[in-house]
Every structure is written in C-alpha cells, then in structure tokens.
Amino acid sequence: MNESVVLDKIVKTHGLVKAVDHVSLSIRSGEFFSLLGPSGSGKTTILRLIAGLDHPDQGDIIIQQRVVTLDPPHKRPVNMVFQHYALFPHLSVFENVAFGLHMKKERQTNIQNAVSHMLALVRLQGKEKRLPSQLSGGEQQRVALARALVNRPVVLLLDEPLAALDQQLRQEMQGELKRLQREVEATFICVTHQQDEALMLSDRIAVMQGGKVLQVGTPQEIYDHPVSSIVAQFIGLSNTLSGTIASCEGGVCRVDHEVLSSVLVMCSPHDPPQGAVTVMVRPERVHVSSDMSINGYDNMLSAVVHHVAFSGNEVVYHVRLRDKAIWMARVPIAEAQASSFAIGQPVYVHWRAMEGLVLPAHPASC
C-alpha cells in the first residue's frame, strides 16, 4: 500500500505530560484519515508534529518515503488548516491565499492564476478584496482551505475544521470537504472530537485517548467491532452492563449480572472472552415494549421510563434498569407514535444476542 505519512513510535512530552505516547500510524495516500478523541488526547499535537510546528522527543515521521522528523515546516509538502483558521487579519482574501506562493517566491502571474483557480474551487470569486473580518464563518473556513490547498500539499492537515461553524453550515462543509479532497487528490488528516463527523467523513479513523491510539480502522470496523469499551463509548455506544462470563458455547455467551437477569451475547467462537466483561448494546438496537416477551428477541430486562426526548425523526427513551443504570433506546418516530410510553411507566427492553457486544471489562467504564 502506498503510504503518505508514517509515524513511527512518536513520543512528545509537554512538561511532565506525555501528550503523545509511542504512537505509530501509517496513513495511506489519498485517504481521508481522522484522529478522533476527547480534548487533551494528543490529536492536535500529532497534527503539529506532522506539520513540523513541533518536533517529537522520540520516533520518526516519514512523509512520502522521506524522513522529515526534524525538518522545519517550510521543508514539508504539508499544509494546515488551523482550528480558528488563523487568517491574517491585515491581508485581503487574495493576499491570504497568495501568502504561501508569495513566500515561495513564485512568479506573479503564476500566483495570480493559482489563487484565482483556488478561489473558484472554494466558490469565493468576487471576494478577493475583502478582509477576513468582513467574511462569514463559512467563508473564512473556505479561505483557510484555499490558502492551504493552493500550495498543492501532498498532505492537508485539518484541526477541528468544522468546530466553529453552526450545525447547518457544518453539514454543508462536510460535503464540501469531501468534494475538495476528490478534486485536489491530497491526503487529508483531520482532527476532531465529534464522532459523527469522523464517521461520516473518514476513510479510516484512529481513536485516541491519553496520547495513545486505541484503535485504527474504517468507520464501519470501529463502529461494529470496537476493541474496548472506551472506544465503544466514544463511538456512541452508551448502554453498558457489567457482568461475568457464565458460559460460552458455539459463539454465544451467557453473562451473569449481580442484580439483573443473565443476558446472551454473541462472541468469537475461537477466542471466547473470560471473566469480567462489559456488554454493550447500541441505543438504536434496543426495543422498548410493554410486553414481557417478544418473539425473536433473546434478551429482556425490566425497566422504568426515566425521561423521554423527542428529536424530530425519532424518540429517545431513557430508561432506568433495576441496577439504577440508565439505558437509552432510540425509536423511529412512526414506531414511537404507534406505542408511546410515559415517564414512570414500567417497560421491558429487548434486544437480540447478535446485537450486543462483549468486551473485556475496563476499570474506567461503569
């Protein structure tokens, strides 16, 4: 596989804190790669290391088969879109976009052509003379993209590119980013703490916490097979249940819980889990019913409706299990209208064994 950026056992400390702790990643040419993690997980530091704005304490950075670990930023075929865009406030849109080419001492006519072409690509024609302060948030974002992409970088780094935009603009820019990537054929490395954004945009995702990479994979892989309960929780799996494995046979485990009744969950038949585990169920897989048993569902727990949240196309029931844990169930609006539940009403939650996930218990979870 053609690798664009390789990080080899990178360590970077800020004072006493290990911001990046032995991180190794290889990012393929032309892919949209996201670093997903909470703030302080080291993802922005990794971006700065790739850009050359910081240098690692240990390890190597290889961009296009060339070791660039200690090279300054201007010697790397990499450009960055900064978190708050960092547009030069005293320069016009045109001058901002031309800055890189100007610094590289390109010919004036080349600069003129390249900037015009790039401004057309991000749909900002006619705004060349404006100052950044005279632009909307979305327009500033596009200037920042144009300013980086006009230099034809092999790798474009994006630091929380959509965080400063409102919901509607964010969805628009997500499409815009994918379109731009197709047109410029560069590798995009994006830092975000929004899991839906990462899932939607990325070809592959690295989930990070505490300076370490927990898992790398396609959105589908990470969503379907999180390696740990932390990853699972970060990717939007909020319903958990801790217990111990009672038996494992033919790819189905029975997990006993101290208070609740035992549940069944699918597992790998070759490498069955043992001991303390966490069972996780996606909110959209949980079925809420007033019936105690429904055909086809393997698991049932009794609960009480705790809170009902309506969000347009679906209803989210927050239910309290007998062990006081709160579970969420997302129900499509049509289904919710057919049978609705009131707060305080006793209900039963059902799910299939194949829809649960069993992961080794983590001390930090639940």
């Binding site: 704005l53 930023p73 960055m80 230099n151």
Partner: protein, 287 residues
Amino acid sequence: MLNQRSDVSSAFPVKLSLLSTSLFLGLFFFLPLILVFGVSLASRGMYGGITWIPTWENYQRVFDPLVGVIFFRSLLLAGLTTFICAVLGFPLAYCLARVSRPWQLILLTLVMIPFWTNFLVRTYAWVLILRADGILNSLLIGLGLLDEPLSLLFTDLSVLVGLVYGYLPFMVLPLVVAIERISPQLEDAAFDLYASMGGMFRHVLLPLSAPGFLAGGVLVFIPSLGAFITPYLLGGGQNMMLGTFIQHEFLVARDWPFGSALSFGLMGTVLLLWFLLGRASVEKDPS
C-alpha cells in the same frame, strides 16, 4: 440647577464632572498657555523684563539659522531615539507578550521599577558612567581595551544614550499590548506557509504590531523632542536641544518673549507632525 435636579438626575453628575474638568484645564492649562502666548508677542525689556510692546520679532527669530541647528539636532535626536527604542523595544516586548502569566508580571515589574526612582537621579547616574574617569572608561582601560579615556560625556551620543534609556519603557509597554493581541497561531500559519523567520516577522508580526509602534513612537518622540533634563545633564552647554535652549532663554538670557515664542514653535512642530501622521494613517487605512 438644583431645583431641576429631579428631571436631570442622570445628567447632573456628567455636567458636574465636565464643569470641574473644564475648570481645571482652563485654569491650569489654557490660561497659562494664553499668558505664554501673550508674552511671546511682547518685547524684551532692557534688563530682562517684559515690555508690553506687541511685535512679531520673536517669531522671526525662531527661523534664525542658529535656532535651526538646534531645532534640526532635536528632530534628529528625537527621531533616532524613537527608532532605537523601537529596535531595542520590539524583542523585549515580544518576550514580555509571549511568556507565561507569572513571568510576565515579574518582567513587567522589572521594566517599571526604574520609574520608582527620580528621573534626575537616574540621568545623573549616566554622568557617573560616561564621564572621563567614569565606570565605562575605567572598565575599558582596566580590560586593556583602551589606553586613554574616550570623551563620551557631553556629546550628542551621550544625549542619545540618555534619551533611549529614559524613554524605552514608553515604547515597550504599548508594543506588549499590541503583540499580545496577535495570536501565536498566526505565526504558526506563516511558518506553515513557507515563511522564514524574517518573512514571518516582516509580513505578519510587523504589520500587526503597527498600532503599538505608532503609540510607542508618539510617546517617545514627543517628549524626546522637548526633553530638558537629559540634554542638560548629558549634553553639556554646547549640545543644546530645544528644551535646554528654551530653558536657557528664560533663565540665562532672561529673554522671556523669545523663550515663549520658541515654546510655541516646538508645540507647532509637534502638532504639525501629529497632523501629518494622522493624514498618513488615514490614507493607508481608508476604513
């Protein structure tokens, strides 16, 4: 006014404070200024008094070539002082603006500490450093770098050193404020866009620090132009600046009308420069 208090209750304190401010400025600023202006149009008496015969002669004397030399030296020294303060002040201001909070407080206090000592005393300290048997010469001779002392004191150079020393903080403080407003991310962005250290400075830091340079420049240039203590102590009798010349006219030559006319000449110069600066900055930034 007191009986109307109920309807003008909110305006009353504003009016009162305006009144007191105008009264203060009128009594202690405009009135003396008018008096000086009056004197500048009078004639010098036989024994140094003022004879109230109106004349333009004092203002004609302001354009005398001898005054021109002093005037030109003052402009040059003030200009050089401003330039050197800017060059020396920027790196210091940059460090002050970019260090972490507790350090910033400590370093800013160190910049301010000299203000706690009388300016006259501090300037006199430079006499001790610069004079023929002073600290600097003794040091250079002691190190074997010199055979005989340099005459440093009572030169334009010693005046310049004193002025830069005295006014440097007035350049540094506005620059700190200006640089603090520049996001460090802009520097990163410039480096990411292939700027060298010099390129980043020229295209990002320098233009964005302009308000600081402007404010600092005004705060350094205007007082240096009219400086008195520094050229008096470090310049000796020969290397006069406008401030020392005006003092000389008032107290030594006892020519109050000419001294007053000189004062107005200095004020006019400053106002003219101020006006030109305002015009230049308006042209540069039409918004």
